[in-house]
């Protein structure tokens, strides 16, 4: 991960506390969440039927998909509910906030691929 490249995405005010937004980073879409004390980023779609995770209700460090209420842990990317959904997961991305701007770290090879 440390090999990845940091991309400045948006000012923190653009995502209200406990909400998520779809963000376009190059040609890639991510879901970016404001947990109040930090930001977390994941792949955009629920492993179940592709629901937009950014539109879910945030509960603690998880998000609940708006389509069928699958619960995804935003730190690990793992599905924690329902039981038969366990084992599925979404990709997660490191984030940081500097000078009021949220940055997301894209993996090196991915960043390269995006650029190509």
């Amino acid at each position: 991960m440390s090999e990845g490249r940091w991309i400045r995405v948006t000012v923190v005010e653009n995502i209200p506390p406990r909400e998520g937004r779809a963000v376009l980073v190059g040609g890639q879409e991510l879901a970016l969440f404001n947990l109040g004390d930090r930001f977390l980023a994941t792949d955009p779609n629920c492993p179940h039927q592709g629901g937009p995770l950014c539109d879910g209700i945030v509960t603690g460090t998880s998000v609940v998909c708006p389509l069928h209420a699958w619960k995804v842990d935003l730190e690990s990317g793992e599905v924690t509910r329902p039981t038969h959904g366990r084992g599925h997961c979404v990709g997660t991305y490191a984030t940081k906030v500097e000078d009021g701007v949220v940055s997301v770290q894209l993996p090196a090879e991915r960043a390269k691929k995006e650029a190509a």
């Binding site: 400045r8 995405v9 209200p16 937004r21 539109d55 209700i57 960043a111």
Partner: protein, 800 residues
């Protein structure tokens, strides 16, 4: 096998037959009933008249019961003669039926006092299902109804007619109401309560004549007064129907005389129910009749032994909000009266004690202790030690309350005759855990329902896995029942979801409690709360309904389903411009644009130039209408404009669950108002306001809330119910579950029949909420945040 002929298909006869079927030997059974219906629960006729129950709901034994037991049921045949020598009965259809054993369960007839003109059209008795149906048919808003007789039946009839919209006056011969069950003081308290309901009462007057030319136009009173009337109900008492018994040569006094084994003067003719006289008493209430039936069944089947020694007379008025109970001998002769009264609360209690035992009781305004008193009366208990706690039960350490202090032999359900012991047995032996299982198993609480709370208390105390659905907590994050939570939010003046979660919950919340809290705060503070979009479902963040592919559906408001060419053109243009994949007419008389991208929503709304239809939220959906008097040749009310106005008054508001409404211009019900959350059904002279209907996963016919004359009154009744539902339902509880949980009588009592101050307060809060509500689609032009609808593009480009 012997041939048993039963004359009378009523409650006593059929209950006795049920008991007979439990014994040996068997009979070949024929039942004659002069009514055309199967066996039904006569004591619930007042509930049918009041619109609380349909005729089907009060059936005790349906046709399949008769078939199952091989009973030959002959309805609509009146037995007019008995030949006790030849052992035959003759019907009014000319049929002659032989019997070996004859059971007379002929009940009683309505007593018709000597009044001139009783044969006029518009004069009714209130005794049968047909009488009840005729009364419902004849009553309408504004019609003047006179009830002759201020006894139990007369008062229940009066209330029923009033719910049907009639202007009701009770004319009573005696100087106080229900004088057979109440002393003059008790009668005064009852009078006050009836007048509070809006029923007019004239005491100490005799009706001398029914006036009118062929049809009722009024009644003349003994004091020379004349009252206008469109219909008259005679409820002046009942007389045992002993005509056949006399023809059969039985010993008859006021009723057919029976001994303690329930034997008549004949060996092969028996009698049960209201037509018999036992130890000088003719009973007109259901509990004694069932006691008699049980004893008679044993006697008739060769199991003679059990005896009937009489029943303590007890009566309960079945008018919600007018609690009246009377039992035993409450005269003060040679007795010590014990009294409590509170005029402000409208509570009157009197007990009479004789020789250290309870002799009689009168309760008006608070009948909560009636079971305790009945228990004492039935068991003839020595109450010397209870003297300090006669009027109010001793403070109990046991949460079981009243039911805990009852003996196992005490009757919980007086209608069906189910004791506490029977219920406990059912709980232990049959694994009963819920109310519905209890009803199924013991039939307790299936008749008048007044013992429901006792049954529930008993289940709670005894059943190992009692399921009380009502008090469910919202979720683990916030472990409070919703009614409790509403109290907390109100008293602690909490206005934001996060604040509530931090103080009373786990500080985090989830997708279950956050939307529930968002609703509650908006409702409680009439829109003056701290709106937190993160606590709302996505639909309520972007005001559109999310679809399976993450796109949204857009349904503009088309009030009452009435649109215009101009509006339709704009909708078509929007569909073209944004390449909307599907345009669909919904079941709610609206148009749905499906497959719109989130980012396009604000532009779509702006181009439509129409307000949000709230099809995505737990809120006011639509009012479906028919064309009513505007175009329909059958319409009798302007349902279209009433519906449009109704939608205007309610739109933009949030509700515990979606609210779908409809208005129809006549009872043909083309817009299906009787299966909506709120429906207005137009009639010749007004509107029926119905609530709690459903046509979704389950289908439920709406209950009648009230019948009114004008559209404005109908809208106001709808507003009262609407706000009451907003304030008292649990989140995600549809009106049909809500109304069913509370019971329509409670809903009526706390809305349309609530004291004026209560009604005003409900309407005030609705007005306040409405004044703060806005069209959600205006946010398209002034978004909450810059990124409400559009995806964020990274400020830094990704390149090599």
């Amino acid at each position: 096998m012997k041939r048993l002929v039963v004359v009378g298909n009523g409650m006593a006869g059929m209950n006795c037959l049920e008991q007979i079927l439990k014994h040996q030997p068997r009979f070949i059974v024929t039942v004659f009933g002069d009514e055309t219906h199967v066996n039904y629960n006569r004591i619930m006729l007042s509930s049918v008249l009041a619109g609380e129950k349909a005729a089907d709901d009060i059936v005790i034994n349906g046709r399949e019961w008769y078939e199952q037991h091989g009973i030959d049921l002959r309805v609509g045949v009146r037995i007019v003669d008995v030949d006790a020598t030849a052992k035959t009965v003759t019907g009014n259809d000319g049929s002659v039926t032989p019997y070996d054993v004859l059971l007379l369960a002929t009940g009683s007839n309505a007593f018709m006092p000597p009044i001139q003109g009783l044969d006029k059209d518009g004069v009714f008795a209130f005794r049968t299902l047909d009488d009840t149906r005729a009364l419902i048919e004849r009553s309408a808003p504004g019609r003047k109804a006179i009830v002759i007789g201020g006894g139990l039946l007369g008062l229940e009839a009066a209330r029923g007619l009033q719910v049907q919209g009639c202007d009701v006056t009770v004319v009573h011969l005696m100087s106080t109401l229900m004088e057979r069950q109440l002393d003059p003081d008790g009668g005064q308290y009852l009078l006050g309560k009836m007048e509070d309901l809006g029923v007019k009462v004239m005491l100490g007057r005799t009706t001398t004549a029914i006036l009118g030319n062929g049809h009722v136009e009024g009644v003349a009173l003994s004091d020379d007064g004349v009252l206008e009337a469109d219909l008259v109900v005679v409820a002046a008492g009942i007389r045992p129907n002993v005509e056949l018994a006399v023809k059969a040569g039985l010993a008859v006094n006021r009723g057919v005389l029976v001994n303690d084994y329930m034997e008549t003067s004949s060996d092969d003719i028996f009698a049960v129910g209201e037509c018999v006289e036992h130890r000088g008493v003719c009973y007109g209430l259901v509990a004694p009749l069932y006691d008699q039936a049980k004893v008679l069944a044993a006697t008739m089947t060769g199991n003679k032994g059990p005896t009937y020694t009489g029943t303590v007379p007890a009566a309960k008025l079945k008018i919600m909000g007018v609690d009246v109970f009377s039992a035993g001998d409450w005269s003060e002769q040679n007795a010590e009266p014990v009294r409590f009264e509170d005029r402000a609360l409208g509570i009157y209690k009197k007990l009479t004690v004789r020789d250290g035992k309870l002799a009689g009781v009168i309760l008006v305004g608070d009948t909560g202790d009636s079971h305790r008193y009945m228990d004492w009366l039935r068991t003839d208990a020595d109450i010397s030690e209870q003297r300090r706690y006669l009027l109010f039960p001793p403070p109990s350490a046991d949460a079981g309350g009243e039911v805990a202090s009852m003996s196992d032999g005490a009757t919980i359900c007086g209608c069906i005759g189910v004791t506490k012991g029977t219920i406990i047995q059912a709980i232990h032996e049959k694994g009963v855990n819920t109310m519905s299982q209890l009803k199924e198993c013991t039939r307790a609480s299936t008749s008048c329902g007044s013992c429901t709370s006792l049954c529930q208390d008993l289940l709670r105390a005894v059943a190992p896995e009692f399921e009380d659905e009502v008090k469910k907590v919202i979720c683990a994050c916030l472990p409070f029942a919703e009614d409790k939570l509403r109290d907390i939010l109100r008293s602690q003046r909490l206005k934001s979801v996060q604040e509530v979660l931090e103080i009373y919950g786990n500080g985090i919340g989830c997708e279950v409690c956050k939307p529930a809290l968002s609703y509650m705060l908006d409702m409680l503070w009439c829109g003056d709360h701290d709106e937190d979009r993160s606590a709302r479902f996505i639909n309520d963040r972007v005001h559109a309904n999310i679809q399976k592919d993450g796109t949204f559906s857009v349904i503009p408001r088309i009030r009452g389903g009435v649109t215009s060419p101009d509006e339709l053109r704009r909708i078509a243009d929007v569909a073209d411009k944004y390449q909307v994949p599907m345009v669909k007419i919904t079941g709610s008389q609206r148009i749905d644009l499906l497959g719109v991208k989130k980012a396009d929503l604000p532009a779509v709304w702006a181009d439509l130039g129409m307000p949000s239809g709230q099809a995505y939220t737990k809120g006011v959906r639509m009012v479906k209408t028919c064309v009513g008097t505007e175009f329909c040749r059958f319409g009798v009310q302007d349902s279209t404009n009433a519906g449009v106005e109704m939608e205007r008054r309610f739109e933009q508001l949030f509700t515990p669950h979606k609210v779908k409404m409809a208005t129809v211009g006549c009872p043909r019900n083309c817009a299906e108002a009787t299966v909506k959350d709120i429906g207005l059904v137009g009639q010749e002279n007004g509107w029926q306001v119905v609530v709690g209907g459903a046509a979704g996963k389950s289908v439920r016919k709406a209950d009648l809330l009230i019948t009114v004359e004008t559209t404005e009154q109908a809208l106001e009744a709808s507003e009262l119910f609407f706000q009451y539902y907003r304030e008292n339902a649990n989140y995600l509880e549809r009106t049909y579950d809500f109304v069913e949980r509370l019971g329509i009588e409670k809903v009526r009592k706390e809305t349309v029949y609530a004291p004026e101050a209560v009604r005003h307060a409900l309407l005030d809060r609705l007005t306040k909420s409405k004044s703060r509500a806005t069209d959600a689609w205006l946010e398209g032009q002034t978004p909450k945040t810059a990124t409400q609808f559009v995806p964020i593009r990274a400020m830094e480009t990704v390149d090599a």
